[in-house]
Symmetry: none
Subunit: 222 residues, 4 copies
DNA sequence: CATGAATGAGAGTTCATTCAT
DNA sequence: TATGAATGAACTCTCATTCAT
């Protein structure tokens, strides 16, 4: 069974029919805008660009969104939603701290190859009103705290070698966030490859040694 | 006591006297602009902002630079110059690949806390003309290649555990580049702390270990 | 009574209604601009001048034209179109070379009293981009070649006395083009008078005479 | 004996020596400015252009001229002076009206190939203040009146066929003035050629012919 | 005298946003 | 409902002109 029928294959088509779910149209606007934000940045993207790409007129956009920033904020929120899902999924998941970090890295890296996810870390917060900016920042801090807590869990349960969790989190988050800067859909690395490779690489420096390294080998041999 | 003319304490003072070293003034413009680029982004910073902060009028800026983009490009170049110094310093430096990577991380992290350095990785290349963009991109590729070559050197000389040098370089570079996004001059972490901590943390995952590495190789041979 | 929508009595009225034929508005802009080009020259006329005279705001002009030069070029083209009609009309017209020249002078002089026609010869080509300038120049050369060919026809068919067709064409064209420099709508000479008088005067020097030409030689020999 | 020693071969050299006749420098500015006015038009020529071409600084220009328009006006005056010489020379010269017209055409055509002369007829009066414009216009009217009087003299003395002197003058003046629009120093036609050819061509239509003129009068009497 | 530096006024252009239909 | 038209505010850049040295 296909995942769902609500998937709009192309945002352009969403406006082809007059009779169409307004929510679908709203979504189409967001997808197109997110794409353009990443292509040209918020500042250089004009409302006309969005309208043109969707084959609608500019004021039509104002039916679905109050203003340009509104679109931007919605993109942030959608991206943030994706990340939140990850975090919740992992928190529920039981396992060692190291395993949680590894799972986090894998999922987060994947999100960094999805447009809405990329928007969260790549777009300039300065384009937001201070209220909206505060909202986004709050959320980003939350992500950081979560990652840090996973690391600390790992240190506590012995799966991660003792280290400065703050710095470790900054390193990992930085490496991950930077993905959204260089990732290209048609590039040499697929999202899955990126996720897998980063999951391995970024946890390598954390892993507690003595036996753990041997264990890993054993684990892999099975 | 030396007059110490090479230090411009405040860019504002550089324009106090009408007769003053033009180079100093040019530099003052660049410093102020770089600061503003980081505060507000290229697009949101107006030439008036720069002028106001320097207590001069807008057209006066055009004595020192052809246009806004010219200022931007010059900031890129200055930042790139800082990084180049690092690379050259390290290349001369003899030592293991691992040591080179460590030295690189330390210096590069430091540069990421200097405004011109931050500009290189934080500002949006989309604001540059295609010629200038090509120039900057060429340089960025060079940095990546250098880092990768250090890693490969390390793998060859046994100081670094075998790994995918491309992914490793992406991880390290990402973590480092991201510094310029969160670093704040008045923040909790000083540049020196950041550099030292990152140098330790980011090389931790690379270091070749006695048996573990041998085991992995054996594993792969099977 | 016909509504007579093809006649726009005053360019100002074209923008009175929000909903109005866009073509009419475009035309109104062109008429006003042409008028101002002639009054103040391209360089001294600002987009605000046009807007003010039409009782709209400056940016509204950009709905109808890409930029200032675009308006200028369109004026050139309209003027050129007027001249082209003449040329085509005469070419079809059968008659002696002299008659063709006479017809040309009459019509061309008339065009030189019409704003768009005046623009072609009075405005400074230096205000055009090189592409547009090339286009205009090509056309001007074409006019000159046509006139010259009429003269040569006349020499061939005996209606025009042998002469240097290049110089003759330059003289005639010069006299005609200069009209657009001194003509004033409210001046003493009406377009029709100008056309008639110039048609007679400018062809006088060309007409082949039975004996008179011989007489002149005799006269000069004395 | 050479015509004079004051001829400055190149305006650039005039400023090479510090010790140099200020009048020479002033003249050099005017020559350069006239050249640039013709190349780029008054509006597009900047004071910097003049300064650059003379290898001096902008404010230096203000030592010799009050402002930009002052330079323009001086160019007009110099050109007007050239034309005035012609007129005076011809007025003194005795001869028939036709001969005077012929002489006028020859000399005037020559002046239209000299930069200062070209300025008079080619530059836009709209760039002048109303006072200066009035001065120039007064002078232009004077030229026209003189030419017209020559023609009328010719009609009176029988050397020129009866005609509307106003229209004839407009034709001749137009053809002559237009020279300054198409003349190029390196073009196919030399000033002397132009002058000679125009002198012949433009008087051809005026010359009174034995019977033809009489016939026309008779015809009109009927 | 002559200059480098600076300015004020104004130009064209863009764009998010809102009328009015 | 959805659109073409219009706006106001902002921005980059230019240039004649004038200080201050």
């Amino acid at each position: 069974m296909p995942k769902d029928a609500s998937v709009s294959p192309s945002p352009r088509k969403a406006f082809a029919d007059r009779r169409r779910d307004p929510a679908t149209k709203r979504e189409a606007v967001l997808k197109t805008a997110a794409q353009l934000f990443l292509e040209k940045s918020y500042g250089r993207m004009s409302m006309n660009d969005v309208a043109d790409r969707l084959n609608i007129t500019k004021p039509a956009l104002y039916h679905y969104f109050d203003n340009k920033e509104d679109i931007l904020l919605e993109c942030y929120r959608l991206g943030v939603g994706l990340i939140e899902e990850i975090l919740n999924g992992i928190a529920d998941h039981c396992g060692t701290g190291l395993q949680k970090v590894e799972a986090f890295v894998h999922s987060y890296a994947t999100v960094m190859t999805v447009n809405f996810g990329r928007c969260v870390m790549r777009l300039d917060e300065g384009d937001l009103t201070s209220d909206a900016r505060a909202e986004v920042r709050t959320y980003k801090r939350k992500i950081d705290r979560r990652l840090r807590s996973f690391i600390e869990e790992g240190i506590a349960d012995g799966s991660i070698a003792p280290c400065d969790s703050k710095i470790a989190a900054f390193s990992i988050a930085g490496a991950l966030n930077w993905i959204c800067m260089w990732y290209e859909p048609d590039g040499a690395l697929s999202p899955e490859e990126i996720a897998t490779q980063f999951a391995r690489t970024l946890t390598q420096g954390l892993v507690a040694r003595k036996r753990s390294s041997r264990l890993r080998v054993v684990f892999k041999e099975e």
